[in-house]
C-alpha cells in the first residue's frame, strides 16, 4: 500500500464570530489579510515550503468561497495525482454523518481520508494564524525525540499567558502538564495550535474520544490531556518568529499595523518564503499627481488620488481627491470618494464610502471601527459606523 511520510489536516471550519461582520459571509480562514492574501494562504504556503504534498482542508461554516478559493490547489503547488489538496466538508456515509462537533471530531470523521495515504505522521494546523513556519524542522525534531505527539509552542509575555493553552515541560522538553488558559500559569510556553501526531497513536485516541459522551472532542481540551494522562511521549517544539492569532477585529488590525513597521518582524517580501495567493490579475496601481503615500502597503488595481498614511490597501481600491486614510486597513474593491476621512478602521470588501464621509476614531484607546462587507457610507450616515 502506498504511504506517505506525513500529511496535514487544516482546520478551517471555524466561524470566527469574534471577527464580527467580517465573517458574516465567509469563514475565518477566508478573511482577507495583508492586502492580497487570505488568512488560509499562510498555513497553505507553509505546507508548500515544508514539502507537504497532501493537505485536507476541513470546512464547515460558509464553505463556498473557501472551496472556490482553494480549488485544486495549484496556486500552492498542491495539485498532484496522489494527494494534493482536498476540501473536506462533513459528509454522510453508510453509518450516518453529522456536523463536526469539535476539532478532534472533524479529524475523526475523516479517518478514511487519512488512511488512504497511510501516513506515518499527521500534522494538525488551523486557519486562524499569521506566521511562517517550516514544519519539516518540527518533523525532524518529532522523529529525533521519538515523540508520539509534538506541540509547537511559542514564548508569550507572562501577563498574557493565561489567555493561551500553556505547556509545562521538563528539561528535556517533554510535556508534563497542559493547562488550558490557566489563572496562574507555571510557564509562558503557549500552544500555537500546531500539532504533529504519530498517526497510529492519534487514530486510536480519536476513536476512544468519539465513544466518550462527556468529551468536547477538542484537541486542546480532550485529546492532549488524555494522552498526557496515559503518559505518552509528548514534546514541545520551540518556534521562534512571528506568530499572531488574528481572531478578533483588534488583533487583525494590529497584525496589519505590524506589517507597516520600518523593519517588520513579519516580512511578506522574503524571496525564499513567498506567500502564495490566488491572484486577481489587476494592472499595477496608479498614484495620481496630487497623491501622498507614506509608510503603507498598496496593491494592484488601486487608484490613489488622496493621502494614504500608515495603512494597508488591498487590490482594486480607489481613494479620491483630498481624502485621507490613516492607520487603517482597506479590503478589496472598496471605492472611497473625495474629501473622506478614515482613521483607525477596517473597511471590508466592496464598500462604497461616499464623498465627505468620516469614519473612525483617532483616539488610540478607542476601539477599531469596522465597516462590514458591501456597505455604502454617506457623509450624513454616521449611524452605520459601528464601534465594536
Amino acid at each position: 500500500m502506498a504511504s506517505k511520510k506525513w500529511i496535514a489536516m487544516l482546520l478551517a471550519g471555524g466561524q470566527g464570530s469574534r471577527l464580527g461582520e467580517l465573517t458574516s459571509g465567509l469563514a475565518k480562514p477566508a478573511v482577507p489579510f495583508g492586502g492580497k492574501y487570505r488568512i488560509i494562504d499562510f498555513p497553505l504556503s507553509n505546507c508548500t515550503h515544508s514539502g507537504i504534498d497532501t493537505v485536507g482542508v476541513l470546512t464547515q461554516y460558509q464553505p463556498h468561497l473557501l472551496n472556490d478559493y482553494v480549488g485544486n490547489g495549484k496556486v500552492w503547488d498542491l495539485d498532484s495525482d496522489f494527494g494534493g489538496v482536498s476540501v473536506l466538508p462533513p459528509y454522510k456515509g453508510k453509518d450516518g454523518g453529522e456536523w463536526y462537533k469539535g476539532t478532534a471530531n472533524a479529524v475523526y470523521q475523516n479517518i478514511q481520508y487519512i488512511d488512504r495515504y497511510n501516513p506515518e505522521n499527521v500534522l494538525i494546523i488551523s486557519g486562524d494564524h499569521i506566521y511562517k513556519m517550516d514544519y519539516s524542522k518540527m518533523l525532524a525534531y518529532h522523529i529525533e525525540k521519538r515523540s508520539q505527539a509534538t506541540i509547537a509552542v511559542i514564548q508569550v509575555p507572562w501577563q498574557e499567558a493565561s489567555r493561551f493553552g500553556i505547556m509545562n515541560t521538563n528539561d528535556n522538553q517533554k510535556i508534563i502538564e497542559f493547562d488550558e488558559k490557566p489563572e496562574y500559569p507555571k510557564s509562558n510556553l503557549a500552544s500555537m495550535g500546531v500539532y504533529l501526531f504519530n498517526w497510529k497513536t492519534l487514530r486510536s485516541y480519536l476513536i476512544d474520544d468519539e465513544r466518550d459522551l462527556t468529551s468536547e472532542h477538542d484537541f486542546g481540551k480532550n485529546i492532549i490531556p488524555n494522552m498526557l494522562e496515559d503518559r505518552k511521549h509528548l514534546y514541545a517544539y520551540h518556534f521562534e518568529g512571528y506568530w499572531k492569532d488574528v481572531g478578533t477585529v483588534e488583533s487583525l488590525w494590529e497584525a496589519h499595523m505590524d506589517l507597516l513597521e520600518v523593519n517588520p518582524q513579519f516580512q511578506l517580501d522574503d524571496p525564499n518564503w513567498k506567500v502564495f495567493a490566488r491572484n486577481a490579475n489587476h494592472p499595477p496601481h496608479y498614484i495620481g499627481e496630487e497623491a501622498v503615500i507614506k509608510q503603507s502597503l498598496t496593491n494592484e488595481g488601486c487608484m490613489i488620488y488622496g493621502t494614504v498614511d500608515h495603512s494597508v490597501l488591498s487590490y482594486n481600491v480607489q481613494v479620491g481627491y483630498n481624502s485621507t486614510i490613516k492607520d487603517s486597513v482597506i479590503m478589496p474593491n472598496v471605492h472611497i470618494g473625495d474629501n473622506v476621512h478614515i482613521e483607525r478602521a477596517i473597511i471590508d470588501s466592496n464598500c462604497v464610502i461616499e464623498d465627505g464621509a468620516v469614519i473612525g476614531n483617532s483616539n488610540p484607546s478607542a476601539k477599531i471601527t469596522l465597516i462590514g462587507e458591501g456597505q455604502t457610507i454617506t457623509s450624513t450616515d454616521q449611524k452605520k459606523i459601528t464601534n465594536i
Partner: protein, 368 residues
C-alpha cells in the same frame, strides 16, 4: 460558431528595440509595469473564448517560453485546445519567411480542431474584439479579412509598415509593402482572419512555388482572385517600432482613463503570476503620477514613471520619466531620468543615469 485557432506570428519580427531585444524577441519585451507585450494578444484571444493558441517564434524565444509556460495563466493548459509553441525546425530556414515555418508545421494545422484561423503579431498593445472581426468576416463572406488602422503617429523612417488600399465597399484592392506611412494611411496590423482550409491550401501552393511570405505571396498575390476585406480597427493601438515609440506607448498608461479602458473586470489582461507581496512605501516616499507594480519598495521620489515588479527605490533616490523593469534597484541618492532600464539593473549610490535627446536604454543586469 465554429472553433477558432489563434495564431501568434513572431516570424516577421525585427529586433528594433535595441538592448531590450538583444536577448529576447519583441513579443517578450516587458510593458506597462507587469506585462510582456504578448500578454495583450494572448488576452485578446482568451477574451474571445479562443482556447487553441499556436505561437510561432523565430529566434531568441527562451524568455518567451519561460513566460508562457504551459499556458496555465491564460487557462490554456487543457485537454481540448491549449497552447502550442511551434519553433523553426531548421534554423537556417528562419529567414525564408513565415510561410516556410507554417509549412513545416503543416500537420499541426491539419490536425487542429478549428475551422478558422486568426493571425496576429505578438507585440500589439490593444484591446481588439476578435468576435466582432469574426462576425464581420462571416457577414461579408470574406476569404481573408485584413485588419488595418489609420496611422496618425509620428514619422517612421524604417520601412516596416504595409499600407492597405481599401475601396468604399471595404474591399482590399492593393497592398503597398514596406511603405513610409503618411498621416491617415490605412496600415495593416498584420492581423488576418482566414478559414483553415484556405490557409492550408495557400501554404501548400506557396510552398510548391517556393514563395514564403504570407502577406505578399498569400494575400497580396491573390487580391484579384479572393474576396479580401478590410476591417477598420478604430481602438487605441500605439505603434511600437523604436525606443521612443516604446517609451511613449508605456507613458500613455500614466492616465487613469487609459488604465480604466484597458483593464477592467470584463476584459482582464492576463500575465504570468509572480506572487509578489504588496508594494511598500516608506516614511519619506514621494510618488506622483506613476504606475507601481507589486513587490516594489519605495523610499525615495518617483515621478511620471513606471516601476515593474520588485523594483527598489532607496532613500534620497529620484526616478523621473522612466521605465524601470523587474527587480531594478535605484540606490541612495541616485538620479534616474528619461531612462528605460531592463530587468535587474542597479544604479549605485549617487550615480546619475539621464537620457538626453532620447530615452537612455540600460541593458539587462547592468550596474552603473
Amino acid at each position: 460558431m465554429g472553433n477558432v485557432l489563434g495564431l501568434i506570428n513572431l516570424i516577421n519580427e525585427k529586433q528594433y528595440l535595441k538592448e531590450l531585444t538583444t536577448h529576447r524577441n519583441i513579443a517578450s519585451v516587458p510593458f506597462g509595469g507587469r506585462y510582456r507585450l504578448i500578454d495583450f494578444t494572448m488576452s485578446n484571444f482568451i477574451n474571445a473564448d479562443i482556447s487553441l493558441v499556436a505561437v510561432f517564434p523565430k529566434e531568441r524565444y527562451l524568455s518567451l517560453m519561460d513566460h508562457l509556460g504551459s499556458g496555465k495563466e491564460w487557462n490554456l493548459d487543457r485537454r481540448s485546445g491549449g497552447l502550442f509553441i511551434l519553433p523553426p525546425i531548421q534554423p537556417h530556414e528562419t529567414s525564408m519567411g513565415d510561410m516556410k515555418q507554417f509549412h513545416n508545421h503543416l500537420s499541426f494545422f491539419e490536425r487542429a480542431n478549428a475551422d478558422t484561423v486568426i493571425i496576429s503579431p505578438g507585440h500589439h498593445v490593444c484591446k481588439i474584439d476578435y468576435n466582432e472581426i469574426l462576425a464581420f468576416h462571416r457577414e461579408n463572406q470574406a476569404d481573408i479579412t485584413v485588419v488595418y488602422k489609420d496611422f496618425y503617429d509620428g514619422a517612421v523612417e524604417k520601412l516596416i509598415y504595409h499600407q492597405c488600399i481599401v475601396d468604399e465597399d471595404g474591399n482590399v484592392t492593393d497592398i503597398n509593402l514596406f511603405n513610409v506611412p503618411q498621416a491617415g494611411d490605412h496600415i495593416s496590423l498584420e492581423t488576418y482572419v482566414i478559414s483553415k482550409s484556405l490557409f492550408i491550401d495557400l501554404v501548400k501552393k506557396c510552398a510548391a512555388n517556393e514563395e514564403y511570405n504570407f502577406l505578399k505571396d498569400a494575400v497580396k498575390a491573390n487580391l484579384h482572385r479572393l474576396n479580401v476585406k478590410g476591417y477598420h480597427f478604430t481602438g487605441e493601438l500605439p505603434f511600437i517600432h523604436s525606443i521612443e515609440s516604446f517609451h511613449a506607448s508605456n507613458m500613455k498608461f500614466l492616465n487613469p482613463q487609459t488604465l480604466k479602458s484597458f483593464f477592467s473586470e470584463e476584459w482582464s489582461v492576463v500575465t504570468k503570476i509572480k506572487h509578489e507581496p504588496p508594494a511598500k512605501y516608506g516614511q519619506a516616499s514621494n510618488v506622483k503620477n506613476s504606475l507601481i507594480a507589486n513587490g516594489c519598495d519605495i523610499q525615495g521620489t518617483v515621478e511620471n514613471s513606471i516601476l515593474f515588479r520588485g523594483v527598489k527605490v532607496k532613500k534620497g533616490a529620484t526616478v523621473k520619466n522612466s521605465i524601470i523593469m523587474q527587480k531594478g534597484e535605484i540606490e541612495e541618492g541616485a538620479i534616474v531620468e528619461n531612462v528605460i532600464a531592463d530587468k535587474e539593473v542597479r544604479i549605485t549610490k549617487a550615480k546619475k543615469a539621464v537620457g538626453e535627446n532620447e530615452p537612455l536604454v540600460i541593458k539587462k543586469a547592468e550596474v552603473i
